[in-house]
């Protein structure tokens, strides 16, 4: 019987060990793309360009098509596109790959990672990314692909240029929009999509009072982006030094009056039953499902989903109206900022690979491709030439809703508030904001107190971050 005891103990110990090993596998794998970095340049002047992007849906397909076209035009290159579930996952995968000395050639980083991407270094201490504008070095074309960097529209230029220089190549750029169910609006006697908070509340009251009205009125994901948008609209700042645009941000202000105003209004709407929370943070899908299932007549989401949302609504049998993001009517409107991501060029690649990567970035954003990208998704046409092209085609007359995002971005004052914050550890700070808001929405925490506490947490993160990068 002793052996049975020993066996049981052994099994228990084994189970412990296995579980401990198993838990290691939870760390994100660098993915198959990691194996395809651009070292292999022996054959001719080309090489393999590995491109990592944060999409796995039709947007990944779109990029794959561009990759094939680029390969046809430049047979000496192969382009391997690797998709990731989310920007956050891609961000972590890239950092891990860089740590292991195996980053791809091009990475798509979301806008809040801009500061971290500029600061990032490889294990050998050299910068992880090279400045795209410096690499372009004033050339008009690279490997025959016309350079379009100079032609990027104002809103993206304002956000991404620091000291007047693009460190990365803009690609997908969006803004927050209000999507309205035209049929439910009509049933409630609402004629125009609301443009301010007050109008939105009135519209909600009217629609919810009508027969067959849905229980709730509006939803949007509990995602950091919406805080940034609303704070920008109200002219508030998230960080000192002019939102980190006039020198490195050293203090966060998550307890800014604009932030508290927004969080308070949001909580009120939830309290009144106007806003419905899907119960999970960063829930883009769940909120859109609620809108498409006609459980809410309104949704705030990215203009990058415009095509998809309008199509889904039409398929579900209702008309979709697209309008600007409602703002606080009691303060002067300052401006909405962009969202989305840019393409970063990894530093220290072999010359042909680096050139190929630069050329690919320009190719993806050439007028035809930028216009097609806009049509496919709803991200704004990123260059003035692509806007002209779309105008010529009569695209905006046919689809006026596709004009809203660009118009909204053009209405911004260009102040540091409406340009958006540039901040270290911003990805983590966003997480702190959404966690705080969840406590307000679900556990009824007081917005003021909770965001003051969040501000302390975020400040500690920023202090840690800055202590790593600011050396004097």
């Amino acid at each position: 019987m002793r052996s049975l005891r020993a066996l049981t103990v052994l099994m228990a110990v084994l189970a412990l060990l296995l579980a401990a090993c198993g838990s290691d596998s939870a760390e994100p794998e660098p993915g198959p793309g990691a194996a395809t970095d651009g070292d292999d340049t022996a054959a001719g002047e080309g090489g393999e360009l590995s491109v990592w992007i944060g999409f796995t849906d039709y947007r990944l397909d779109w990029m794959n098509e561009r990759a094939s076209e680029f390969e046809e035009a430049h047979p000496e290159y192969t382009v391997a596109v690797q998709g990731y579930d989310s920007y956050e996952a891609l961000f972590q995968a890239t950092q891990l790959a860089a740590e292991q000395g195996d980053p791809p050639a091009i990475v798509q980083y979301f806008e809040v990672a801009t500061q971290e991407a500029r600061d990032a270094v490889k294990p050998d201490g050299t910068p992880l990314f090279a400045s795209v504008e410096a690499e372009v070095d004033g050339r008009d074309e690279i490997l025959g692909e016309p350079v379009v960097l100079e032609d990027v529209v104002e809103a993206a230029r304002n956000y991404y240029t620091i000291d007047g220089e693009f460190t990365s190549m803009p690609w997908n750029t969006s803004s927050t929009l209000l999507y309205a169910n035209a049929d439910l609006m009509e049933a409630g006697g609402v004629t125009e999509a609301p443009t301010t908070w007050e109008e939105l509340e009135a519209a909600c009251e009217q629609i919810r009072a009508s027969d067959e009205a849905p229980e709730n009125c509006i939803t949007w994901p509990n995602h950091g982006w919406f805080f940034e948008q609303s704070v920008g609209q109200q002219g508030g700042l998230l960080a000192n030094n002019d939102n980190g645009r006039d020198g490195r941000a050293t203090e966060v202000t998550l307890d800014d009056p604009a932030m508290l105003e927004f969080a308070g209004w949001w909580a009120e709407q939830a309290e009144a039953g106007n806003y419905v929370y899907t119960g999970t943070q960063r829930d883009w899908e769940g909120t859109q499902n609620a809108f498409v299932a006609q459980q809410v007549p309104f949704i705030l989401t990215s203009s990058g989903d415009a095509t998809a949302v309008v199509e889904a609504g039409t398929e579900a049998g209702f008309g979709v109206e697209v309008a600007r993001m409602p703002y606080n009517g009691e303060v002067t409107y300052d401006g909405n900022l962009i969202g989305g991501a840019t393409l970063w060029l990894v530093n220290g690649l072999d010359e042909p690979v680096s050139e190929g990567a630069l050329a690919f970035m320009q190719f993806v954003n050439n007028p035809e491709n930028a216009a097609d990208w806009h049509k496919t998704t709803g991200y704004i046409p990123i260059t003035n030439a692509s806007v002209d092209l779309l105008e010529e085609e009569g695209w905006f007359e046919e689809n006026p809703y596709h004009r809203v995002a660009t118009e909204q971005l053009d209405a911004a004052s260009g102040s540091p508030a409406s340009t958006g914050a540039l901040l270290g550890a911003f990805v983590g700070v966003r997480d702190v904001m959404t966690q705080a808001m969840e406590d307000v929405l679900v556990s009824g925490a007081d917005p003021q107190e909770r965001f003051e506490q969040a501000n302390e947490e975020a400040q500690a993160m920023l202090d840690e971050y800055n202590s790593l990068y600011v050396t004097e």
Binding site: D119, G279, N289
Partner: protein, 457 residues
């Protein structure tokens, strides 16, 4: 660095080492004087195991009481490890040289017939794997937990135990105090009654429960507001998964052990969920209980006048759903082992019970259950490790740790710290806390459960 505060600590560990050394070496048949010297040396050098990597930083002037307390613990752990090792060396030498020969030692430990070389060669592949995938990452985790680590950062500055202390904010817990008083009273009763009679058996049991709960309550009170929630959630999810899982597993195993037609098919179906990975279980339950389109809500609305409240807005419900999903996921495993165990329950004992007039429940409670105790013991260990290390996969897809952190367990929290917030030092520190929890639970299981487990003879 050596700070003056550390000197008395060295005195304490040296004295403790000497005391242990005297006993150990005397028991091994050597002069206690050697033991005192060896033990004291171990007590003096042992703390360096932890104090050298930490550079004694917790005792720097200006450090807070939490730092100092953690430092004392680290100091003590280092000392205890070295003293324990020295005692073990004493016993081993005594056994190898044949000074002491007890039957127990002969049974539990063998000796190499032809030197240690050949066995080591055979063990080398296993050892290599263990070192590469277990011990080295473990040491790395220890190192990272004392540093400020962000990926893509130019350096990893040493931050002492800040990654730990930021999780802690000891507060006085009245509950823990009451439990401690209860424990002391129970211990007093046990001491007065002695260990023999019926009453004191109950008192011993009460003492054990109160002691365990007091320890948990004090540990909970050690953590700051943020991590306290995580700790409590982990305890609730683990307790729920293990208790519900084992009871349900045993109940179903008893049912499928009845002679019915198509037994094999039932059993196979019941074991299937085990083959599903935790995230998939999360997605399945997400779809079933989805507040908007879930089938569970639909069924409740169709067949009852009630509507199912959304689990994504209610912490208790969310925890219940997570427990339900993880129980469902592990059920097949539990059933499998209980079915096997039930087949091994000796029938003559059951028959004897029947003849003595025990009814079905009495036979189950007093005969079947005790003979299943080795299986139960094993299943508790595996289920607890499952709850600690695997349930986060379910949580990620089912609740994403919400609502409002109600289902953020230790594993989810450390992944959030390390991956979402990008601070690997915090993640490493939290994983060491989880490691300590696992050690504590395992220790408790082997002591308490092990004692009550019956292996037949």
């Amino acid at each position: 660095m050596l700070y003056p505060v550390m000197l008395p600590l060295f005195g304490v560990t040296a004295a403790a080492g000497a005391a242990v050394g005297i006993r150990a070496w005397r028991a091994a048949g050597y002069s206690p004087r050697i033991g005192a010297v060896v033990g004291a040396t171990a007590g003096l050098l042992g703390p360096l195991i932890t104090m050298v990597p930490l550079r004694g930083c917790t005792f720097e002037p200006g450090r807070g009481p939490v730092d100092v307390a953690l430092g004392v613990v680290a100091f003590g752990v280092g000392g205890a490890v070295a003293i324990g090792a020295s005692a073990w060396v004493a016993r081993t030498i005594a056994r190898e040289t044949g000074r002491v020969r007890t039957p127990a030692q002969q049974l539990s430990a063998g000796s190499f017939r032809a030197g240690i070389g050949t066995p080591l060669a055979f063990l080398a592949p296993t050892l290599a794997v263990l070192v590469l995938f277990l011990y080295w990452p473990m040491l790395e985790t220890l190192r990272l937990s004392t540093r400020l680590v962000r990926l893509s950062a130019p350096n990893q500055p040493f931050v002492c135990l800040d990654n730990f202390t930021k999780l802690m904010a000891p507060t006085f817990s009245p509950l823990a105090a009451w439990l401690t008083i209860g424990f002391v009273v129970a211990a007093g009763i046990v001491a007065v009654l002695g260990r023999s009679d019926q009453d004191s058996a109950l008192a011993v049991r009460v003492r054990g429960w109160l002691g365990g709960l007091a320890l948990l309550a004090w540990t909970t009170a050690m953590f700051g507001a943020n991590y306290r929630g995580v700790f409590v959630t982990t305890l609730i999810l683990t307790a729920g998964t293990v208790i519900v899982g084992l009871i349900a597993g045993l109940a179903i195993a008893v049912l499928v052990s009845q002679p019915v037609k198509g037994q094999g098919a039932y059993r196979t179906f019941l074991i299937w969920p085990y083959a599903i990975s935790p995230p998939i279980a999360g997605i399945l339950f997400f779809v079933i209980f989805d507040p908007l389109a879930g089938i569970a809500g639909h069924l409740v609305e169709t067949f009852t006048p009630f509507t199912l409240p959304s689990y994504r807005a209610d912490g208790t419900l969310a925890r219940s759903v997570v427990i339900l999903a993880s129980v469902w996921k592990t059920l097949g495993f539990n059933i499998l082992f209980y079915v096997a165990g039930l087949q091994n329950v000796p029938t003559d004992v059951i028959e004897a019970g029947q003849i003595d007039g025990a009814n079905t429940w009495q036979r189950f409670r007093h005969l079947v259950l005790p003979s299943l105790s080795p299986i139960t013991f094993f299943l508790i260990v595996t289920n607890v490790t499952y709850a600690f290390f695997e349930v986060f996969g379910t949580i990620t897809y089912l609740t994403a740790g919400g609502p409002s952190g109600a289902t953020t367990d230790a594993m989810s929290a450390l992944i959030r710290a390390g991956q979402v917030q990008g601070s690997f030092g915090d993640g490493a520190a939290q994983s060491l806390i989880l490691f300590a929890m696992v050690l504590a639970v395992t220790f408790w299981q082997f002591r308490v459960t092990g004692r009550r487990v019956s292996y037949g003879s």
